[in-house]
Symmetry: C2
Subunit: 202 residues, 2 copies
Amino acid sequence: MPTLYDYLDSGNGYKCRLLLAQLGIPYTRVELDIDKGETRRPEFLAKNPNGRIPALELDDGTVLAESNAILCYLADGTPFWPSDRLLKAQVLQWLFFEQYSHEPYVATPRYILRHLGRQHPRMAEMPERLEKGRAALAVMEQHLAKHDFFVGNRYTIADIALYAYTHRADEADLDLTPYPALRRWLDRVAAQPGHVKMLPGD
Amino acid sequence: MPTLYDYLDSGNGYKCRLLLAQLGIPYTRVELDIDKGETRRPEFLAKNPNGRIPALELDDGTVLAESNAILCYLADGTPFWPSDRLLKAQVLQWLFFEQYSHEPYVATPRYILRHLGRQHPRMAEMPERLEKGRAALAVMEQHLAKHDFFVGNRYTIADIALYAYTHRADEADLDLTPYPALRRWLDRVAAQPGHVKMLPGD
């Protein structure tokens, strides 16, 4: 049984939990509190030298890091990651978009607000981050105005990856009102079979 | 014949040029000057709504964005991206590492220095970016101290993606002296068959 090193409030961790649930794969979950530095301790750095959750430890002890690489590993050979060469690459295009153009500007503002607080000096980063966050949401809105899902007209790991932090955008001071197609897509994702919520209180 | 929308001084563009050369794929190259805003004009935004190079236009008009997704598309079915499920995911792990933990802290400092200059207000970002850049180089060094290449003991697109900006780290004020295994790896990558340099003057 694989072990997921995780942190409940992490959208990157949630991506893996959601796909594991939808694939019906049993796993052990180990909670590491990033606010207490538990991902930077020697015992975890031996597993992921980059010191970040999520990380997936396989039965043979191999540890795979990076949330979106874990999604690809788990989805390989399933309809969650199409095998057609172009569709496969289009899924990856959105996964890289998520990590480069979305996560730092949607997840990080949420982290600052929830974990550091509105009095923290890092609040100075918010205006620029939120501007780029709105740009990422606008790119998503433009695509979703014409497509029900990101790739190949069906639910894939591209939707899972982008759903994770987008559905908590309000917690990042990002108002989703201007993005109606995106909001309809959030509902479609939440209605998928086997969907699980991110936090126990949701 | 595919068309690569590119900018010569971009390491992300160079990744694609290097792999296209090593695969022997002929292509048309269209240069867009990011400093002149040429990637934010309507005619290019119609191709890539995220307004970034590189983007690869295929014969049927499909445009694939995100440098590392382009690498995967081109390498699919070749030894540059192994087909084994775990190796394939390990390559992706390093590609996501590159975009999330390396590029913003190696490529962006280089961009600030080369394109904005040492008098620019964005120089204020340099200390934190370079600290994270050194952290990324240290993660690479630790891995390369035990491995000749990033995945599967052979040259793959993981090496191509990480080589692109690492081999220009000096232009980002990042000194590679403390990373001897990494420097030997740079030499191994540059010695691969069909290697091409990034800039005409190199």
